[in-house]
Assembly symmetry: C2
């Protein structure tokens, strides 16, 4: 192995390799050395050197021969992120399901699995063990396809202490003060390397599901999203993220974004958080199902399908329940919009599925309660919907590779 | 006049001059070339050159001879911001008062004036004319003391369109779509310069009073404030500012921070903003005075003094009114804290004066409604109180000089 370059030189090289890799990974259509050079404002020669290094590292591949309409000289072969290089793993701890997926450097989902379970009042060690087994299954599957899991990000429905992998409180699971990363670290990590080679790093990171869902919007639907938006991310509970300049606001302790616990009616029903009349008590899944007269004891999916079918059929109870949820969302979001003046409000998670019934009353409330005259923020519906947290988690792990390509070069014997 | 230095060189020089000027201006005790060099990590020689330039420009003065305990070599004379150089003017358009003050580079208030008036339903042109006359009075006074007004910042109780000087809506004044800067621009600007000299720039900038009050906390009480806090700034209405990293969040259109219009009870009384049950309807000055059985027709100060006296004497009605306001503040701030997880909540404006009666119920509400377990954000009471907006405005104008010292060098004939 060559001696490592001095800090600053290595940093510059890492940054340039990363820029080239992002340019290829994020381009929908064909990339070439010339198109990358043009989009980054670098010389063709500099880009060629960087591309060659990324090819050698197994992070890019090229497909020849020349692009049609390519310029004179060396034919512009098509560059693509390697589909046999490192990949990112994402995992989701839901209240009623566990899911794991693998996404390659080109953003394609290469393997995924999901199991239903009962998360309420569950034992963290048991759940993390089960999740670890799913991680191993997905990791084995992608290894079989020639990919190398490079890192794992876990989405959790709870408050994650800033800069740690510790869930301080996950009210719908009943977990508190639970370290998520340590029990998962022995799963999916690469096998011990042959002697004389360096092991690739394998990091497990943990984030709130709403933050990851919001990041998924930025990363996967960035063209539609303004830099500043409020993202509502509902599964069983209601989460949220306040995004500035494409980054979720973390808050002093890491606990920002708890839209589900914004008070809507101060004397309303008691909430799992200890407050009263929180948004979650009016627009949370259980509250809406109850208001629609649908039982909440069975599997979620059945109940949600029934709610959608009834709303579709014009059932009064279902429509009234969704109206009520839209109104409560409108009240809580009016407060958020008055405080933050975001460019958009995005309905994600399970709310995306019910958006057509929620939006009319939600928009009415916003219109009557937003103090600033003129246009409201854009009201957008997430195209990722309930997939947001898992996709955000996997792409978070992918981006760790794109950010530091040298650390994930194919180890050579 | 020397030819201007090329852009980047001039920028570096400006930045270094600015750093030296800030270092002297923000130091409570004595500065010397050596202490400035130490605090900025620059060489003594570089600082000496910069200091000499600031002395020639009339922005610094020195007071000799040596500091006690100064090192060997050239005696370390004491450096001070000039008390005869440029100064910043701040103006405040309140709902019942107009105020103007001048602050010198050392942060001392050198002149101020204030008149009571009736702002509700007032004619903007008439009010701005009157404010312009006050600006001229203060400018004349400080010119008499050898100072030069270098800029004017105006605090307004309304929504200011981002990057403009236009008030889109000031509900308690009844103003909308009003340009504030143009009618004031001919006031206080320096007299026409003698031929052959360059006029100093004189800018009029306009900002929401709550943003300026929050900035005043950062600039004047920064040691106590965390980087991220929510500032409640109440006069007749309730404003607010969401501060990140020491800067108020502006929002997409410039309308962030409208805490007064966060819904507290969705079916509550109709508000001037068009919404219902906004915080202002429960914790606004008029609502609190009414709840305490105190008339709101006379001058504000009399009514507020009466409220404080009654609360002091244990009057049930006054205490109940303040409890109710604290509760409503707690509900609205619980939403803000759950969304933003700030390091502190700061009670400013007229709320600072009543903080001892507001804080107990406010804190109770926060404690029962904040979703994250553990400590609450710090609850701080502004030491500037109702002075916040005016001080923020004047210091904004002062900092424009500190940011670009070369533009405000004493014009020489």
């Amino acid at each position: 192995m060559a001696a490592p370059a001095p800090g600053s030189q290595r940093e510059i090289r890492t940054r340039n390799l990363s820029r080239v890799l992002y340019a290829v990974a994020e381009r929908d259509s064909s990339s070439s050395r010339a198109s990358v050079a043009a989009s980054l404002g670098l010389t063709r020669a500099a880009v060629s050197t960087l591309v060659d290094e990324l090819l050698r590292a197994g992070l890019l591949t090229e497909r020849g021969p020349a692009l049609p309409g390519g310029g004179p000289g060396r034919p512009g072969t098509v560059l693509e992120p390697s589909d046999r290089g490192p990949c990112g793993l994402g995992a989701e701890i839901g209240v009623d399901h566990l899911a794991v997926c693998a996404v390659d450097l080109g953003g394609r989902v290469r393997a995924r699995t999901r199991v239903e379970y009962e998360g309420r009042g569950s034992e963290p060690a048991v759940v993390l063990d089960r999740l670890g087994a799913l991680v191993d299954t997905v990791a084995d599957e992608v290894r079989g396809a020639g990919l190398r899991p490079a890192g794992l990000t876990v989405a959790v429905p709870g408050l994650v202490s800033r800069g740690t992998s510790r869930v301080v409180r996950a009210p719908n699971l009943g977990w508190h003060d639970t370290d998520i990363a340590t029990p998962l670290a022995r799963h999916a990590a690469p096998p011990q390397p042959a002697s004389g080679t360096a092991a690739s790093p394998f990091a497990v990171t943990v984030d709130n599901e709403a933050n990851l869902a919001a990041l998924a919007e930025v990363w996967l639907d960035g063209g539609r999203m303004p830099g500043d938006f409020v993202h509502v991310s509902a599964e069983v509970g209601i989460g949220g993220a306040v995004v500035f300049d494409g980054e979720p606001l973390r808050g002093t302790r890491g606990f920002a974004g708890e839209l589900g616990h914004v008070p809507v009616r101060p004397e309303g029903p008691v909430c799992a958080c200890g407050g009263r009349g929180c948004l979650e008590q009016y627009a949370g899944e259980k509250a809406v199902l109850r208001a629609a007269g649908i039982g909440t004891e069975g599997p979620r999916e059945g109940a949600l399908t029934l709610l959608a079918a009834r709303a579709e059929a014009g059932d009064r109870g279902a429509l009234r329940a969704l109206d009520g949820a839209g109104e409560a969302l409108g009240v809580a979001l009016a407060g958020a919009v008055n405080l933050l003046d975001p460019g958009a409000v995005v309905l994600g998670g399970v709310l995306a599925r019910f958006a057509r019934w929620l939006l009319p009353t939600l928009e009415n409330e916003l219109r009557s309660r937003v103090a600033a005259p003129g246009t409201l923020p854009k009201l957008l519906v997430s195209e990722l919907g309930a997939e947001g947290p898992l996709m955000g988690a996997a792409h978070c792990a992918v981006r760790a590779v794109l950010d530091d390509p040298l650390a994930h070069a194919q180890p050579r014997a």
